[in-house]
Symmetry: none
Subunit: 287 residues, 2 copies
């Protein structure tokens, strides 16, 4: 009846679970092309996002060329524990997961909050990381990153987030971008079997404190970026209202080995507005 | 048959145990000359080191003139618990041990990672500390301290460290220094009764993250050194490949009340290459 032995995708890959040395059981998905000399790509997710919030078009296009690992960090979605309220604690938690898998080297794609965690993790354990993609994110102590505007805060923190919220936060207010936004919302709702557990309000509140603390204005924190000597691709839309695009420029100019890619006519969710284009850029960068 | 009532030494001092307020049972040794007005000297140990890694020649020469306390911090060697992954947590743990002993004032000698912990402990509780010796160590956010070179990392993190690893990491690559290195290895292996428990791979991994995090490039962290007004002796070999010697110079130039002593023709393990000379320098400094 069904065709057997098709490769898993973001629609079909099973939710996996592993207990780490810190006592947390992590939910994750791991699939895609493997081969000798190939490094898996770990995805670190945005505020309130779980495994299902990764766009299937983006993930599957990347997974066609490399192994991908999607992670619910501590307390998020199907993972156990309480979500911590600092980026440093989140980085240590992600490292505990990586250690549980026994990985000795990996690439990382961090989006938004996940990009904060990716930077911190790389500073804590630089020898673990091969290459880094920092999407829609900014440096600790960056510019205009200290708390959201009230409109953004309302839409981002609602107890029951809606499709409208996603579209208004992640996409530009143009008919083209809004149309792409609704297509994205359809895609992330399309998996019906074995969906991830929703993120809790405890996760929302702890992540919001962590994000706001990371954004406390402090230009002296930029010195730390000199410790991330890894090849890094920094990318964003040209009109990000969650983590203003100037912070992507700050990252690229302070990281010793970074390239910057700005998508015009796009916001924070540029990678979901242009999933195939961004997947191709990521694959080319990581090859 | 045996001569009774000889003074305990690093070969013979019993392993002692005390439970602290944080629930951890600490393994330690405490011996040497005591007297009124004399302050005990607490030794804080290097990466992966336990009680047996302190050179008997160095320790016994210091213990001839003052009381010495050797400590396994949390999770290390014979102490209980899991080793934490931050220097700040290690400093709080060492303070819990000091409090359990009921000590109100002490001198501290911190070597390498132990020197990071000594600085942090002194910043947290300056009134506890009388004088400070910082050997083969560097300030938070120092220079070229963010992760080891790959050769050093391999030798320092091997699952089963060898005598060759100690010699290559701690000693200069000259025949004289290498010869001294093997004499040191013989000395730390010479205790046969009541040896300390070996350090675990959990300790290795957590300490490595703590060391790397301490080394994240950040010149703004040097301001903190103005909070250590205690008389301090900073010492190192002139060719330290683990914590480059320039960091000892940074310490000495940023600490308000420090003297600098650099041993030529020596590396990180200068204090084990010149144990009697360094013991005399420490005793003179602390008197």
């Amino acid at each position: 009846m069904t065709t057997p032995a098709t490769a898993p995708t973001q629609f079909t890959a099973p939710n996996l679970y592993i207990e780490a040395g810190n006592g947390i059981t992590y939910a994750y998905r791991r699939f895609g092309s493997t081969g000798p000399e190939m490094t898996p790509l770990l995805f670190l997710q945005h505020f309130r996002g779980n495994l299902d919030n990764w766009d299937p078009l983006l993930i599957d296009a990347i997974a066609a060329e490399r192994e991908v690992i999607l992670l619910d960090n501590t307390g998020v979605g199907g993972s156990s524990g309480r979500t911590p309220n600092s980026v440093t604690a989140m980085a240590h938690d992600a490292l505990a997961f990586v250690d549980a898998l026994g990985l000795r080297t990996l690439d990382i794609l961090g989006f938004s909050l996940g990009g904060f965690v990716a930077q911190e993790l790389t500073l804590i354990r630089p020898h673990l990381v091969n290459r880094l993609v920092l999407a829609g994110t900014g440096p600790q102590g960056g510019e205009q990153m200290h708390g959201f505007t009230s409109d953004v805060l309302d839409a981002a923190t609602r107890d029951e987030p809606t499709g409208e919220d996603f579209v208004s936060l992640f996409f530009e207010r143009t008919p083209t971008s809004i149309g792409k936004g609704w297509e994205f919302v359809d895609r992330i709702c399309s998996r019906t079997q074995d969906r991830d557990a929703p993120t809790s309000l405890q996760t929302r509140d702890a992540q919001l404190d962590a994000i706001t603390t990371w954004g406390i204005p402090d230009p002296t924190r930029l010195h730390r970026l000199s410790g991330i000597t890894h090849p890094t691709l920094v990318a964003n839309g040209d009109h990000d209202i969650l983590i203003p695009t100037r912070n992507s420029r700050l990252l690229a100019s302070n990281l010793p080995n970074a390239a910057l890619s700005i998508y015009p006519g796009a916001g924070h969710g540029f990678l979901f507005q242009h999933p195939e284009e961004f997947a191709a850029e990521v694959n080319a960068f990581l090859d």
